[in-house]
Symmetry: C2
Subunit: 338 residues, 2 copies
Amino acid sequence: MRILADAFGGDNAPSEILKGCAAARRAYGYDITLVGDTQKIKACAAHDGTDISGMDILQADGVFSMETQPTEILKAGKDTSMAVGLRALASGAGDAFVSAGSTGALLVGATFLVKRIKGVKRPALGAVMPSGTTPFILVDTGANAEGTVPMLCSFARLGDIYMRQILGVENPRVGLANIGTEATKGTKLQIEAYQALSELPGIRFTGNVEVRDIPLGAADVVVADGFTGNVILKMYEGVAKMMSNEIKAMFKKNPLTMLSYLGVKSGMDGFRKKLDYKQYGGAPILGVQKPVIKAHGSSDAYAFQSALRQAADCVNGDVVGKIREAMQHEPQSESAGE
Amino acid sequence: MRILADAFGGDNAPSEILKGCAAARRAYGYDITLVGDTQKIKACAAHDGTDISGMDILQADGVFSMETQPTEILKAGKDTSMAVGLRALASGAGDAFVSAGSTGALLVGATFLVKRIKGVKRPALGAVMPSGTTPFILVDTGANAEGTVPMLCSFARLGDIYMRQILGVENPRVGLANIGTEATKGTKLQIEAYQALSELPGIRFTGNVEVRDIPLGAADVVVADGFTGNVILKMYEGVAKMMSNEIKAMFKKNPLTMLSYLGVKSGMDGFRKKLDYKQYGGAPILGVQKPVIKAHGSSDAYAFQSALRQAADCVNGDVVGKIREAMQHEPQSESAGE
């Protein structure tokens, strides 16, 4: 198992990326190839005291900045660590690629350098999220702003395979994110997708999921167009952040409340851990020919380590092979998704 | 000030509705007309010991059920308490109407019985919501599943007027809910709406609001198509509910955690109060010729009382007059919103 890691993606690169790689290597024994400027990687590791011995380094001169247009990954940005890593993945120099850099660029790069699995019209960005009960995957969270019915069907398939292979859910409940449970709810897209999803073979479509019930764990796979999925993801983060701020302020109010905190500290820690997206790694780009994981832009070492483990899980669970297999049996429509 | 109250809308009607009306009458001295079956209203008040003396009763035989198609409010449901109340409002028998019944039916009824203000293509459903800082209004939260650019501009105007007149915000920050702050983010709808909102006279358009920042109070008016607005509203409710459950469980764990709860009880109460949507009343239907308020379906007496106060605030703040005035100056497009 060799994982390619973009050493220069994300807010805390390369320092936290290198630490995450070292931790993953220590914990799981993966072979890791760091992609980026050799000299800077070595200098950073030396400065931090991070042990990168035993890791390969694949030289790449540039860094893909967050401000650059995503499509530049194929042009002006073709020598950045992200582009070099993706090409190395495509050529077989590694089994999976992880980057905390620009989501848009990683999507474009994965689609055009690693390439789509035959039958997949549009790769999707998944997000594994905690709920009040069991974690679920939300697909798509923004790879495609506009949605079509065939795309939503494809997202259902991709999410279903991910939950089976990576989270071991036997017969995932697949739900369509909607503003009501009735089949007639939503825009034209949801109304038509409801019918199409109902008829999708091998998928346990449990109908529309009221958005209110998503954080309570109402489905294992939540299907949404990229715009809606991104809104769901961001509202989750925003409300959780706002409430955490309020709770923190509440405990910090006075000596009595601070004392109270001690009594619930372990509970709060468990709560925080349960809601910590980092434990699930990053966002898998589903539908391309090798596992590509988008780690959170603000990844620290622990988050990046989790993303590396998730990449390895995707390799071990043969997510790509399972998607390829499913796509061979998928009814194909010429006009689908284009 | 006379407010018409649908005595038979919502999960807890008529008991909690009557109690809410009695409390509002006691607290604010409003004249209230209860709409519904006279005998049942009197029997319920007698049973509960609710003082409805001094309130008028407008007889209506039927109740509009949640399962009935909204458009039936104009046909088979025309003798229900909701329809009778809306017609009474239109005829001048009251200054505002409040119902906790079917949202869809109330929207159809308000649009076709109370009628739109000239220039308003589609009435919108607002929702006043708490944030980490100051409350904001989200428009639309589901009156219209599909959105158009002129509709979004109209929502901005309606929300702006509401925040000025009812919440006293002097120069409201109007933001477009989107998946990124850049003008090029989102679907075709958001990209085009961004431009149109930038050029809307008299509106302080502060650009796209990252959905993640909405619960933190990033805008005073959050503009969204009805589908997206409903997703935002429901995710807010869902995440808050999930986190509240977790916090509750944490404090209930053992004697030590229960003791700790006592230390933060006042803080928790304050927190709960801050996040309690009930304090802001219900959802105003904006763009019709008289104030119509949709109280939450699960309204208890307090929530219904707040909705009555909100209705009175709309009358006192002349929200309808201000909207009418603004619409006279609005650039009209023949094709707008249809």
